[in-house]
């Protein structure tokens, strides 16, 4: 993929990003396979940053591999593990290695992860990190010092359209835009009517919104997310639909549901694109794209 994410976002086409979960350990084979599988099918690939506060291979490391292999990396940066010195330093490094997209997140709390006794840093928050990027672009650091060489990033953020109550999230969304967010990848959405309502609010702002699509793999997973993941609400009709097929076909059904949702979002121009999260099932992302009608027809590929 030679086009930058920013170019894709500004092209008016329906943008597709997806994400790579880095390994817990040094065996990077699977990650590299996923990168090679997806890099030419999407406009950008996120690499998660110790997702759910579980220690893994770093986001920046994954992004370097994506870059090396010709993909368009989106560096996920949380504020949980690094103070403002470390965050800025990593942005400098990322820039020199050709990484041009950063997704700014506050980060999950430490106790939800696998190093429960670690210190949560949160020296900055997501809004402050966005501002820090814009400041580094101006040639200054957070200490007020001049940089010898500035950065340049397409900066993004996240939003949870199904959070309850929603108003505080909308206020923060506006704050992130003001801080310099150019694009948003949302938390998983399943209720398109609710999402349309959110988009009526979001459309007031000069930002691109990519709807979060989390692949459902079983009715159990859907119920688990409803009970345990803040801001995710899988409606009963989708759980019923997943239950309506034999167990071994649930994944296929989940792919169909994801494809159908993406196609609907695109058909109704509800948002500017989608961010597909196939947590642990990255190999089926092409199937989701195919189900959404977003892959070129088989056999025409060489052209």
């Amino acid at each position: 993929m030679t086009r930058s994410l920013r170019e894709a976002l500004n092209s008016g086409k329906f943008v597709v990003t997806s994400e790579i979960g880095p390994p817990k350990g040094t065996n990077i084979e699977k990650m590299l396979h996923h990168i090679d599988l997806l890099k030419d099918k999407v406009d950008g690939l996120n690499v998660t940053d110790h997702q759910s506060s579980v220690m893994r291979f770093p986001s920046l490391g994954g992004c370097l591999f994506i870059k090396e292999r010709g993909g368009e990396p989106i560096l996920q940066m949380t504020c949980r593990d690094r103070n403002r010195l470390a965050l800025q330093a990593e942005l400098l490094l990322a820039h020199t290695r050709g990484i041009r997209n950063v997704l700014c997140l506050t980060g999950d709390a430490v106790p939800v992860g696998d190093h429960k006794e670690a210190k949560g840093v949160f020296d900055l928050d997501s809004v402050q990190l966005l501002r820090a990027i814009r400041l580094l672009e101006s040639g200054k650091d957070l200490g007020g010092n001049n940089l010898d060489g500035a950065v340049d990033f397409c900066a993004g953020a996240i939003v949870t359209p199904e959070a309850q109550p929603i108003e505080p999230q909308l206020i923060k969304f506006a704050k992130k835009v003001e801080a310099g967010a150019e694009f948003f990848q949302t938390q998983a959405i399943y209720d398109l009517d609710n999402f349309a309502k959110f988009m009526r609010y979001a459309r007031q702002f000069p930002v691109k919104v990519l709807a979060g699509i989390v692949l459902l793999v079983s009715p159990r997973m859907a119920k688990y997310m409803n009970d345990n993941v803040p801001g995710i609400f899988v409606p009963q009709n989708l759980i019923d639909e997943l239950s309506s097929v034999p167990k071994e076909e649930a994944l296929k059904k989940g792919i169909e549901i994801a494809g159908r949702m993406i196609a609907a979002l695109r058909r109704d121009s509800l948002c500017d694109g989608v961010h597909i999260m196939a947590i642990g099932r990255e190999e089926v992302v092409p199937d989701i794209l195919a189900a959404a009608g977003l892959l070129p027809q088989e056999g025409k590929k060489e052209g």
Binding site: T106, V112, D123, S126, A163, Q164, E167, I171
Partner: protein, 220 residues
């Protein structure tokens, strides 16, 4: 304001006293009495448990407020028993432990862990309302401190982990920013939540923290 403490697991107290067979026990009549961690009842219970282990308790006392200077007087009154002890087991918060350590040359062993400075909401219910960050923000957060009440100490609004007004780390805990939002909305002051707050200053008073009051004459 109360210093909220919790008793150390008894095994830990036992381990701290491993080489120390003769102890004098000091409780505190203020915070540790209120939290039932170092009042008279707890001191006597500790005394019995240690005696069961074969420790010699040379004496005990519950001083009115362990952290203040009157503790010196109370210790002097118990001079003989203190001198007879190989260590002092302090059932007060860390401030009390510190105070006792100023006056005695014996090892001072804490029996409690100091958790936070908090308030009592109802009988037996304590929670933190101030993290003593040195730069009070509650004038713009409806009197509720996000540094103390938000798990991540966020100043620019809620994170994505908030769920129906609860926190991602514990569904029993309220999301500080939902509470702040509700209060600001009621006060018609939501603009304060729309405002950007820059990164916090963690060096208001660099650690180790201390201040010295300066008299007016010196200031002039």
């Amino acid at each position: 304001m109360k210093s909220i403490t919790r008793q150390k697991p008894f095994a830990e107290v036992q381990q701290l006293l491993e080489e120390l067979d003769r102890a004098f026990i000091i409780g505190c009549g203020t915070c540790a009495t209120m939290t039932r961690t170092g009042g008279k009842d707890e001191v006597l219970e500790m005394k019995e448990r240690l005696q069961e282990l074969g420790k010699v308790i040379t004496g005990w006392t519950v001083v009115p407020t362990a952290c203040d200077e009157m503790t010196e007087v109370a210790l002097r009154e118990n001079g003989a028993a203190l001198r007879d002890a190989g260590c002092i087991l302090v059932m007060a918060c860390a401030l009390g432990v510190h105070r006792v350590g100023i006056y005695v040359d014996r090892p001072v062993i804490p029996a409690l862990d100091t958790l936070f400075i908090g308030v009592e909401d109802g009988p037996g219910h304590f929670h933190e309302v101030c993290a003593q960050c040195g730069q009070c923000v509650v004038g713009e957060t409806a009197g509720l401190c996000p540094i103390a009440l938000c798990h991540k100490g966020l100043v620019n609004g809620p994170c994505g982990g908030t769920n129906n007004g609860k926190c991602e780390v514990d569904p029993e805990k309220d999301c500080a920013w939902t509470l702040i939002y509700q209060r600001l909305a009621k006060q018609g002051r939501l603009d304060l939540m729309r405002k950007y707050y820059p990164p916090r200053n963690f060096q208001v008073v660099p650690r180790p923290r201390g201040v010295k009051l300066v008299s007016q004459e010196t200031q002039l």
